[in-house]
């Protein structure tokens, strides 16, 4: 057993943290969000080309640094510390994760492009009726000659307005929430018949409603076996869930730190409010939530390559805990700030918003308690 980071991992964290300190201060982030595209594409290029960061979790054969889940986690944590709106989760963790899992020609073609910063992938999986059930799909991909024809509606697809590629879940067979018949595709985001309605999200990203209207896609867009994609989808979503938990560690760390700083300098009744014991204990509780989030994220990151049932139980345990921590830390950060906490001008509120969205991303605490129980509490 060894919980220490390698020199390369320490270097990744330091390089990234320095870069983000220079580029991602609160004002710059606000400007990116307010700009026409809702982001600064130059940051993505720099992450790829100047820092080599997008290759951290890919193999050396593909031009990466040879890392994996741990690298993704520590990069996501740093991104969380500045509430970055970069499509790392979608492009590298989900898209890259799927490509690494299937390998072959498509991986050889696309992974180097991800590493080079030339590709942005959005993950089109959620449907209005499906909630957190990955198999509850109405989007269909019907076999048509060598390829498929895609029809359906995907909701709230983060990063879609920026995407060159879409990672899409669809039914090639079966119905309802059946496991069989679910397939995963990686397609060009600009194919004819793809209709998007773009919008900003409350946590600063851009997202879209995506409608597939008889979209013809080539046969080699299929990742993994036809109709047998669910285990792969569950795997990459688990990896993404842990990545989001790592992001939450960064977000809640800053929420706690910001609260502590504020409480030290805000005076009421002739003393810093940090002297009030009720606030002290609350900040201690926040601290403990942040620490436990880090512990659970470490645990789940290290278990991502275990057999599916063990992996799922670990990921659900982690997400259930982190979702609750995100809520607790976020709400109490605002409460401890008082009125100033609910203004747009202060960064703290924006961290709170991202923390809130993380609570439900890839499943609420309830959803994960439920999955955990199904896996671990046989009657």
């Amino acid at each position: 057993m060894d919980f220490s980071y390698t020199e390369t991992q320490d270097m990744i964290r330091e390089t990234l943290s320095r870069f983000l300190a220079d580029t991602y201060d609160f004002d710059s982030r606000g400007k990116m969000i307010a700009s026409a595209t809702g982001r600064d594409a130059g940051i993505w290029k720099a992450l790829a080309q100047d820092l080599g960061m997008l290759g951290a979790s890919f193999s050396e054969e593909h031009g990466g640094l040879g890392g994996g889940h741990l690298e993704n986690a520590l990069i996501m944590e740093e991104l969380g510390k500045v509430i970055a709106i970069e499509p790392y989760l979608q492009t590298v963790v989900l898209g890259g994760g799927a490509l690494k899992a299937v390998g072959g020609a498509i991986a050889d073609a696309v992974i180097p492009e991800i590493i080079g910063g030339n590709v942005v992938i959005a993950f089109a999986y959620a449907e209005p009726q499906g909630r957190y059930n990955l198999a509850n799909l109405r989007t269909t991909a019907k076999k048509d000659g060598a390829g498929y024809v895609l029809n359906g509606h995907k909701g709230v697809v983060y990063a879609a307005p920026w995407a060159s590629h879409l990672l899409v879940t669809a039914r090639t067979g079966g119905s309802g929430s059946e496991a069989a018949g679910v397939s995963l595709f990686l397609i060009d985001a600009n194919l004819p018949g793809i209709v998007r309605r773009d919008y900003p999200t409350v946590d600063g990203f851009q997202a879209s409603e995506i409608y597939f209207e008889n979209v013809a896609i080539p046969g080699d867009a299929l990742l993994g076996g036809e109709g047998a994609g669910l285990p792969l989808i569950e795997q990459i979503v688990d990896e993404a869930t842990v990545a989001v938990c790592a992001e939450a560690c960064g977000v809640t760390f800053k929420l706690h730190q910001g609260t502590l700083e504020y409480a030290r300098q805000r005076n009421q009744f002739g003393q810093p409010i940090s002297r009030f014991q009720v606030l002290q204990h609350r900040m201690v509780d926040m601290f403990m939530e942040v620490e436990q989030s880090k512990s659970m994220t470490t645990m789940a990151t290290l278990k991502l390559d275990l057999p599916a049932a063990e992996r799922m139980a670990a990921v659900s345990a982690c997400k259930a805990k982190v979702s609750r921590a995100a809520k607790f830390v976020g709400q109490n950060a605002i409460q401890t700030h008082g009125g100033i906490g609910i203004t747009q001008e202060l960064a703290i509120g924006h961290y709170f918003k991202r923390a809130t969205m993380i609570e439900g991303q890839f499943g609420s605490a309830d959803h994960h308690f439920d999955r955990f129980e199904k896996l671990t509490l046989a009657e």
Binding site: A126, P128, Q129, G130, R131, Y132, N133, N136, G155, V156, Y158, G176, S177, V195, R197, Y199, P200, T201, V202, D203, A207, E209, Y211, N267, Q268, F269, G270, F276, V278, L279, Q331, I334, Q335, G338, G339, G341, I342, T343, Q344, E345, G349, F352, K353, T356, M357, G360, S364, D366, F369, D370
Partner: protein, 397 residues
């Protein structure tokens, strides 16, 4: 003690119910249903209807324009308003400064200010908090110096709700810098159009503009706009805070909120079943509902005490704490209920095409409302301060 309404009370209930059904503005209903922000005009349209009917200020004494209803009738009235999902009335005139004026004001002040509050012609805002004086309100520094028949006021207020729409504001200002904190404060009514008053917006987390900074620079305020004696403003302020706290339980409105969540949970799908079939979600709704019942009966007991001549005392802090926590939990659950569609930020774009709507209407305000409602445990005396009050005044520690 009895729980059932009397025949007279049932008749009253029918009367107010049909009045609301027949008079509530249609266009207001649709603005609310589609989840849009309400404008000042929206609020005023309903206010004016109630004013015309004479039902705008049920809590006021009859001589000043109240309805003379019993506590039970007032309870029925607020239940019916909430059940019909009517917009509220702005509290600053009707629940705050109005009672201060009819309790502490001179006959001239009553004649001058109460009619505008009732009619809705005058909108009010509350200028208490300052950047350096939030929970510790009595440390406020905005100062008023006597100059002939005027005060000259200088200072800065903040978090002033609706100041951008207000015709008048009631302000706490320091008139004696040498007295002990609470003893040097006066209660002034200031015309918001006075030279030297500047209102600057503060945008809150949901993107809304409801609070402001108010700067007062050499503002002349006639002495006859001071309520009660000079340096005795704290008495008015404390009286008003107690009034503010009773309404803050918001039981009827929260009941409506719980119903709305049930409605959402019946519509939202959780895979193959409606969300309401999800055991976890159901449990959260029932916990909320049971806590709300506990709050409701605590409020009813406290109202009974009031009717028996005991004014709202420090127990009203309990109503504020529990009421605000429940309001927050309702918004929390609503956000949870809408799942993925909590994320789109609707203030970020215009009307958009109808062919491709973004999620259900009920989801549009879920996240901003959740963010915004964090305020309820902060304003009106934060919940920490309310707990301090209970500890000191009720528990005696």
């Amino acid at each position: 003690m009895q729980l059932e309404f009397s025949p007279e009370e049932i008749a009253f209930q029918q009367e107010v119910r049909s009045f609301i059904a027949e008079n509530y503005p249609e266009n207001l209903r649709s603005v609310q249903d589609e989840g849009h922000d309400l404008s000042k005009e929206d609020f005023l349209s309903w206010h004016r209807i109630l004013a015309k009917k004479g039902w705008i200020a049920p809590a006021w004494p009859v001589e000043y324009g109240g309805t003379g209803w019993t506590a039970t009738q007032r309870f029925i009235w607020s239940e019916e308003l909430a059940a019909a999902d009517c917009v509220g009335t702005m509290p600053f005139g009707l629940s705050m400064v109005g009672p201060v004026i009819y309790t502490f004001g001179t006959p001239e002040q009553k004649a001058r200010f109460l009619p505008g509050i009732l009619s809705g012609d005058d909108w009010w805002c509350q200028g208490y908090s300052e950047p350096g004086s939030g929970s510790d309100l009595a440390s406020l520094r905005t100062k008023a110096v006597r100059d002939g028949d005027d005060y000259i006021v200088n200072g800065q207020k903040t978090w002033t709700t609706m100041a951008q729409h207000a015709d008048w504001g009631f302000f706490l200002v320091r008139t004696d810098p040498d007295a002990k904190q609470q003893e040097g404060i006066s209660f002034l009514l200031i015309d918001m159009k006075s030279p030297g008053v500047t209102v600057r917006p503060i945008i809150t987390l949901g993107g809304e503009h409801e609070v402001n900074e108010v700067w007062l620079e050499e503002v002349r305020v006639p002495v006859d706009q001071r309520i009660y004696e000079e340096n005795k403003g704290w008495t008015c302020a404390k009286f008003l805070l107690a009034h503010e706290r009773t309404g803050i339980a918001a039981v009827a409105r929260s009941k409506r909120g719980v119903e709305k969540i049930k409605q959402i949970a019946r519509t939202e799908m959780d895979g193959d079943k409606p969300l309401l079939a999800n055991a976890f979600f159901k449990r959260k709704i029932s916990e909320l509902e049971i806590d709300l019942t506990a709050l409701e009966f605590t409020e009813l007991r406290s109202l009974a005490g009031e009717a028996a001549g005991k004014g709202p005392g420090p127990e009203s802090s309990l109503l504020k704490i529990k009421g605000s926590e429940i309001q927050q939990r309702i918004t929390e659950l609503a956000l949870e209920a809408v799942g993925h569609y909590g994320a789109p930020y609707f203030r970020g774009f215009g009307e958009g095409d109808n062919e491709h709507p973004i999620g259900p209407d009920y989801a549009h305000r879920a996240a901003p409302t959740y963010f915004n409602t964090r305020k309820t445990t902060i304003y009106g005396g934060s919940n920490e301060i309310q707990r301090n009050i209970i500890a000191k005044m009720v528990l005696g520690i």
